[in-house]
């Protein structure tokens, strides 16, 4: 009754046998030990488990793993360039945009999805882009700042 899932995760192709009811977050965490993606509410209500599927941010707890067959998944472990942090990761460090760190991977992924689509967002657009991502520690202020600062930095670098 297990089915085969072929999926590329952070650039590496995987072939995994799973029960059909397995969600994407379960594959990442339980099968592949990619525990950077966090599970918190398991119902699409907190977006701690955000990952990119073909570049689009989704709640991996609310995606049947078999539905990503043949697709590309990017997790928090896959966005740095080797030892060089992604600019958003760097900005989260500099702005103190995390405290306990449990929502942080999902936040960074949501932030990346936003900037990939909209490199020059307004403050309101940033807030809306992370409206799904709950954070109980920071009050979001620094997270919004870090995403905006990254956008600015990337824009300047592109000039």
């Amino acid at each position: 009754m297990k089915k085969i899932l072929n999926v590329t995760i952070n650039g590496t192709p995987y072939e995994i046998a799973i029960k059909p009811k397995t969600t994407l977050v379960e594959v990442l965490r339980n099968e592949l030990n990619l525990t950077g993606t966090k599970r918190s509410c398991n119902a699409g209500g907190c977006s701690s488990c955000s990952v990119l599927v073909d570049g689009k941010v989704v709640n991996s707890c609310s995606v049947l793993a078999l539905q990503v067959d043949g697709k590309e998944v990017t997790t928090i472990e896959g966005i740095a360039d080797g030892a060089k942090l992604h600019p958003l990761q760097q900005a989260f460090l500099e702005h103190g945009a995390y405290q306990c760190g449990y929502c942080t991977p999902g936040m960074i992924i949501a932030g990346k999805a936003l900037l990939d689509e909209n490199p020059n967002p307004t403050k309101q657009e940033v807030k809306e882009a992370i409206a799904g991502n709950l954070c109980r520690c920071t009050g979001y202020v620094r997270i919004v700042d870090a995403i905006l600062a990254t956008a600015k930095k990337l824009q300047e670098e592109a000039k």
Partner: protein
Amino acid sequence: MRDFEYIAPKTVKETLDVLDEYQEDCKIIAGGQSLLNILKQGLMAPEYIIDIKNLEELNYIKFDEKDGLKIGATTTHRSVEFSDTIKEHYNVLSEMERHLATVQIRNWGTIGGNLCIADPTGDVAPPLLAMDATVIIANKDGEREVTVLDFGVDYYETVVGPNELLTEIRVPVIPSNTGIAYLKYRIVEGDAPIVGAAVAFTLNEKGACKKARIGMGGVAPIPIRAEKAEKMFEGEKITDTLIEEAAKVASEETTPIPDIVASAEYKKRVIGVYVKRAAKLALTRAEKAAN
């Protein structure tokens, strides 16, 4: 979550055959943004899950000046939100999608799935009601067209039978001199609306109301239209006073139930406020379209 057999048909025809075979024993999953929670909570435990998420045949947005808009059922909310066609001809849908749930849900959830879950507070139905939209429901032997108004049966229940599949959403061409707006009320952003109101006004050459449509969510077992209030506008010059009066009537046409977020009385009151606000915005847009 209980284990299930997983079937991912490659075509619509194949899907309809499978549905015909398993009927009550199966459940269709598209984006699964609501269904997976229902399964996880054990509220439903189908033996077969028919996955249509990657059915490309139903992933489309088409428009022509004669038949209007056709959206395939597995089109994601995000595709609707970003579609230039929709922005050009049905911008209210793009606006609605932009604030539907959260970006994560919009990226994976489908417009067809949203309608089929039939949550009365869903964002998709009210603007569709305001635009006289219909849906196509297919089975092995053919298809039927049902209005969005007649689509819902009760809370979380639709006319789609166990062997049937919602395949398409159709929205007629928007007449000229029309303005449409959808506004919703929620206490916390990113959350489902408590109530939502969509209003469409088509003005005649004299600037009076030729046609009015009011779609409302969260105020009855299914998304409804405020038909009495709509009639108050037709043939009339739309004024703030008329809007106020019609909004009160619209509010009286609702039958909300209390829940943990708000009382029935409060919902009734707030829907009136939102019908009013959406009507004012729709009027401004209609007047702009007419000029």
